[in-house]
Each structure stands twice: as structure tokens, then as C-alpha cells.
Subunit: 421 residues, 2 copies
């Protein structure tokens, strides 16, 4: 079984050694001897768990910066026009590019909401990280479409059985306002029967709340409760516009909320994500980047900082969301949501480890590693990424990087040539 | 005269050549021949003007992350305890570290508010960038102290006459609430007589406004007008809590406002910086990072993104602050404020140029360079920095970098050993 030895690595305010055996963190102790292991001198590095991006649309890297500074509706029209021109090649290289960006920025797992999970799974497999794929049901109340969507979900779930162990599958429901009641119920039932997670866009905009009250006489969260969707299986992206009762419900059912701070800010959906309230209620709070269409990168380190300082600002409390809470949101809470034995540097956990280079301005002086990591550094300090016990980036170099950049750029040009703006 | 030739560089949506001769952008044209010039292949790079950080306390890099997630008053007590233990070595290496960080993140000039400008000027000189230094007057209403502060300002201004051309000097007034009326008037007069800029903290917190109304029966901006401080010389850091009348005044006098977005968010001073209103009123809007004590880095690229998306969010308008407006805030407006013939890539301007590496995930695909620069990329894409016609960073390598990191880290340890928390 292959072994990696991280020598003299900084972790929890001390230096020690970490031995990775197979895909597991086998041992954390001082002075480990492992002559067979690939040894990495970590005297200038710290080990942290890989970040887990809990809400993205990976293939949308191909829509990065395609239209900017626009209101939601005209912007969406553009994005849909672009996505309608995707082909398999674009999907594949878009996913490769997304994986590359995630590796470079210290993310080892992502929770994706898209279609075509098999090409994404292939990209993820080749790149060496983890992902949860889905088939995103979306019917806009058309009963014929709804029937097709159910069949497509079942088909993609069956296909997912042949995924490698680093690729998982979840049921995905676009949103309460784009999926009919029957399919909302179906999603809950199908997830329960097959022990799957459910990924949904929930309570993202104020308009959504108004519309929900008008249509169903209750909030989107209450509507989800009525249809049997609230449970520990549910991963609710955005969860931005929540009433106290919504928060109570999400806590009581142990729902996972995903804060997508940069996307929410940039498309002006809102900024008062009830992080403290959700945590206090017992909900599981995690973080995502959303797709590169709405926000423009997949950088979890950037998202962590923005999330933290924004909470402090609108709460008018610089003590809000201390660093330990924040860092859990970036990995440990997410691993729990995905039922993944990762998210912490601990013996027996999956070896999903990021080595942070501290020999640079952002960590000088280094009175407080966690503060420097979140508030000072950026993802350029990610030096080495280990996922499932395998090195996927070393010294910021990823195998095949230039090929991915070149192919993705070429796909982008082809995509644009097909579109009349 | 030394020459640098930037071959095939991306600028304003096209590719061309830029010839730097001496410290000036001598020519921008296709196919420039300059056999004597140091030629840089820029086929994967874009040229942008160096960022100008309009409000910082450079030596406070040595307080980076020293105390986190605290309310303002207890936090300030800590910071002052730390700063009281500074010696010349700590000041010098703190400034070297600040310059290094600014170079690495694409900043070629900064407007500093601190003391000991001669050591800072030495550091800036050695590092090859530009700065405006100051002597920061602060008397807390003590008349004896006020007299000393005036003498110290005059002394430091005299010393500044021997600064090299890349180091400038400004009058600095800590804030209306920490500097007596006499010295506020003195600062205005002294600046006028010697044709200097004035750097001040203004309207940073809501408390400051309440206190000002109580003490002077007017806002801090109105108080400044009364004492003769409002003019095109004035650089007002923060300018966060402004009434419509304040904004009108700042516009009418052509005051420069400096938005310090990350500092304002992190210490929870506020987040509704009236960017659009100030611009509409005719004020000059610029951007700063503040010192590493309150925010934790000097990264202008990070600040630009946060500033933009935050404006969109609280205004509930994704069209707010388009990219061209934003990028001017990062350099052109600042150059104007500092009366520096820089801030634009244009023939005849000072050669303060940053080369952005586009061969990476953040610029792939590259449908919109400016959007990728601000919303997708981070400062790790800064490849090469030219200031005053001299290359200060090439391929992300700065001369003497390791020595600075090591010395600053050692200074940090010494500093901490002197302090009882």
C-alpha cells in the first residue's frame, strides 16, 4: 500500500509528522519512521483538511465572465443561450477546468448541481478529487417534462452505480418554483428509498419568498416540509431569505444550508445569511462558490474570508463567526453533510489534505496561523493537495494543466462562435 | 537611458507592444523595434497600471493577525501595546515586508499614515516602488503635545526634502476627534503653504458622527470645512458615514475619499460606502487596504473585488459600479489625487506597469479580461511589476525576498517576546 510521510508539518499550533497509508491518515505523531513512504519536507508548511465546495455547477466554468454587471433576468437569458450550445467536449473540458481550479485553490471535493454527471465523473476521476454529481430535475410545471425528468433521474442514478468510489450521486431538485409538487415529492421518496442526498436551490431571493407565499401560502422551507423534503438528506443552497420559523425547521430536521456569499453579493440576491441563527438552531452550515456564471471562480479560500467579514459587518459585531467556527464551515461540516469520513486531519480519516505554504508575505509574521490563512492569505498559498491518499498537486503543479487550459480556451472560442449576442 | 520592451502584450482588448524608456512609457504601437531594450515576451500577459493603495499604515504588517475577532476598543488596546514596543529594526523590516507584499500583489504606490517616514522611505527606495509618507499628528487635545506635534511635523517635512523622487511627503492628521482645533487649522495652513496633500481618517464609525454632532454641532466633514481642511489636497480615509450634505461638500471641494472595504467589514465599522453618490457629487473615489492590524493584508486586487460586489449587494443592483469605474478607482483616480503622472497605460505617463499572467484557470476562458481580473483572479496572477521604469518583480521573484521574510519573522518574534498579553 502506498505511503506518504509529511515530515515536520504544522498542525493545530504544533509541528509533527503525518503518515498517509493507502487513502487514510494512518498516524499523526512526532518522529514517524516510514522508509517506504514518499517523504515531503513540510518544515515551511501547514496541513489543513481539503475544502469542500458544497454548491457549484462545475461545467459553468465555460460561462466564466461571459456577461457581467447585469440584472438577473437578462443575465439568465444570456447564460441559457450559452449553455444551450454546450456539446460533450465543452462539458468534459469545462469539468476538467473546474477540477483544476479547485485543486489549485485547495478544494478536494465538490457538490455539483448539473446534468451529464457521467462526463463530470470522468473528469473528476482523472483529476483525482471527489464529487457528488446529480441529475438536476427542472420541469417548470410541465407534466410531460416532469415525467421525463423522473425517468432521467432514475437513468442517471443507475449509471452512477458504475462511478468510482470518489464519485457519488445525489438527487437534485432545481428549486421549489421550477419543479412541480409531484416531482418534489418524488425526489424525497426516491432519495429515501435509495439512501441519497438531495441538493436544492432554496430561498435564494426575496422574490422567491413573496411568490411562495402567494402560491402556497407558506415559505419555500415550509413548503418543502409539507412535501417531505426536510431531513438530514437535504442540502439547501443559498438559504438566504429565512424566517425565524424556517430557521427553526431547518435546525429541527438537521438540514444542511450552503452559503454562497460571493454569488449572493454579486448578483445582489442579499447579504444577511443567518449563519449564527442556523448554527444555534442546530442546522448544519456549509459554504459554496456557486457556478462561475454567477460568481466567477471556485475559490473557497476567498469565499471563507468574504463570508466571515461580511457577517461581522452587517451584525455590527467583530466577534461574530470566530475562526474555528468558520474553518469547520469550510470542510468538517461539509464532510458530515456528504457522509464523508473526511474534513479533519485526524487518524482514521480519509487523507484529503492540503499543504499550505507559509513561507510568504501573507504568513509573515505568523502569530496566528488560522487568522493568516483566512484573513491574510489567498489560494496561491496552496502548495500541495492530497486527495484519497494520492498527491494531485505538488509545488503548485498539476499534471496535464497546460492541456486543460488550452482545451478549455479552445472550447470557449468555439462556444462563443456559436452565439449571437 | 535604459529601455524595456513589452512584446505582444494585451491591453484594451488588443495586442500591441509597449516601449518603456527611462521611467516613462515612451511608445505604444505594433511591431516596435528596440534592439537595445530588455525585451519581455508578453504573449500570455496583459498590462495594467500598478494599483495605488490610498490608505495604509505600512509598518503595521508587524501587527498582522496579532489579535483577532475582537471588539474595537479592547483590540486597539492590544495593538497600541504592540506598537509601543516597536524599535527601528522592526519599523524598517515592517516597511520592507509591506513593500514586498505590495509588489507581489501589484501595487506600485501607497499613501501611508504613520511616523518615522525616513525609515519607510529607505525601505521604499530599496524596494523600488513609490510612497507618500507623513507625520501623523495626534494630540488628544493636550496643548503641550499639540505644540510638539507641530514641531515634529515641520521636522519630518524638512527631512523629507532629501527623499528620493519616488518618496513624497504629506501632512497627516489622525482624525478630527484626536487632533485639537488649532492643529487641524495648522495642518490646513501648512499644507497650503508648502503645497502638500493632507491625509486624514474621516467619518469612519457611526459613533464618530454622534460625538461630532454633540461636540461641534455638525458632522466631521462640516467641521473640516469650518477649519479650512476641505480641498483637493484632502485625502479622507474611510468617508463611510456621510450625510447627503457631507457628500455634496466633498464633491464641491473635490476631496478624495478612500474606501477601505475589508477593514470596514472586519472591524464592523459599516458597509454602505456611498461610492455612487460621491462620484456623482464630483468627489474623487479611491481605494485602500488600511493597515494589517485592522484588515490583514495589503492586497488591492482582493479589495477591488470585495468593494464591487458589496456595492452591488447592499444597493440591490447588480449593475452598480461597472468594471471601468472600478478599475479607475484602483489606480487612475488615485494617481490624480497624488498628483502623480501615473495610473494609466498611456504614452508619456510614468512606467508603473503590472503584467498579469493570463495563462491560468482564473483567465480561462477569457471572454472578458477585466471581469476575470476583478471577479475571478487573485493577486497570484501578478507576474511582473515595473515601477518608475525599473523591473521590481519578474516571474513573481523579488530580489532579497527570503531575507525580508526571515528578518520580519524574527522581528515579529522579538516583538512578541516583549509583550505580556
Amino acid at each position: 500500500m502506498s505511503e506518504i510521510l509529511l515530515k515536520n508539518v504544522y498542525i493545530d499550533d504544533r509541528r509533527t509528522d503525518i503518515l498517509v497509508r493507502g487513502n487514510i491518515i494512518a498516524k499523526i505523531a512526532d518522529g514517524i519512521e516510514a522508509p517506504e513512504a514518499e517523504s515531503i519536507d513540510c518544515s515551511r508548511m501547514a496541513a489543513i483538511p481539503g475544502f469542500i465546495n458544497m454548491h457549484t455547477h462545475a461545467a459553468m466554468t465555460m460561462t466564466r465572465s461571459v456577461k457581467e454587471d447585469m440584472k438577473l433576468q437578462p443575465w439568465l437569458q444570456h447564460i441559457w443561450k450559452v449553455e444551450a450550445q454546450y456539446d460533450k467536449d465543452i462539458l468534459y473540458w469545462g469539468n476538467k477546468l473546474a477540477c483544476l481550479e479547485m485543486i489549485k485553490t485547495g478544494t478536494t471535493c465538490f457538490n455539483d448541481m448539473y446534468w451529464g454527471g457521467d462526463l463530470a465523473a470522468l473528469a473528476v476521476d482523472e483529476m483525482g478529487i471527489r464529487a457528488v454529481h446529480s441529475y438536476c430535475m427542472l420541469d417548470n410545471g410541465d407534466m410531460e417534462k416532469a415525467e421525463k425528468e423522473r425517468r432521467a433521474l432514475i437513468r442517471d442514478f443507475e449509471k452512477s452505480r458504475s462511478f468510482s468510489s470518489r464519485n457519488m450521486f445525489a438527487v437534485s431538485v432545481h428549486a421549489p418554483y421550477t419543479v412541480c409538487e409531484d416531482n418534489m415529492r418524488f425526489a424525497a421518496m426516491f432519495a429515501e428509498q435509495n439512501d441519497l442526498l438531495i441538493h436544492i436551490h432554496l430561498s435564494e431571493t426575496e422574490q422567491e419568498i413573496t411568490d411562495s407565499q402567494e402560491k402556497w401560502g407558506c415559505s419555500p422551507v415550509e413548503y418543502c416540509e409539507r412535501l417531505g423534503l426536510l431531513s438530514e438528506r437535504l442540502i439547501a443552497a443559498h438559504s438566504l431569505w429565512l424566517s425565524p420559523h424556517d430557521i427553526e425547521l431547518m435546525g429541527a430536521y438537521g438540514v444542511t444550508a450552503v452559503h454562497n456569499v460571493n454569488s449572493n453579493l454579486k448578483i445582489a440576491s442579499g447579504y444577511k445569511f443567518p449563519m449564527e441563527e442556523l448554527i444555534a438552531a442546530g442546522a448544519n452550515v456549509t459554504l459554496g462558490t456557486d457556478g462561475c456564471g454567477s460568481s466567477n471562480n471556485l475559490d473557497m479560500m476567498e469565499a471563507l474570508k468574504t463570508a466571515a467579514i461580511l457577517q461581522k459587518a452587517w451584525r455590527r459585531n467583530p466577534e461574530a463567526i470566530p475562526l474555528d467556527t468558520l474553518l469547520k464551515i469550510g470542510s468538517e461540516n461539509a464532510a458530515k453533510a456528504l457522509r464523508l469520513n473526511a474534513g479533519k486531519i485526524e487518524e482514521g480519516r480519509l487523507a484529503d489534505i492540503v499543504l499550505i505554504d507559509m513561507n510568504n508575505v501573507f504568513f509573515t509574521p505568523n502569530y496566528n496561523f488560522k487568522a493568516n490563512l483566512v484573513y491574510s492569505a489567498n489560494s496561491s498559498c496552496v502548495d500541495t493537495v492530497i486527495c484519497d491518499g494520492r498527491i494531485v498537486m505538488r509545488g503548485r503543479k498539476v499534471e496535464g494543466e497546460q492541456e486543460i487550459l488550452d482545451n478549455a480556451a479552445a472550447c470557449g472560442e468555439r462556444l462563443m462562435s456559436r452565439i449571437q449576442f
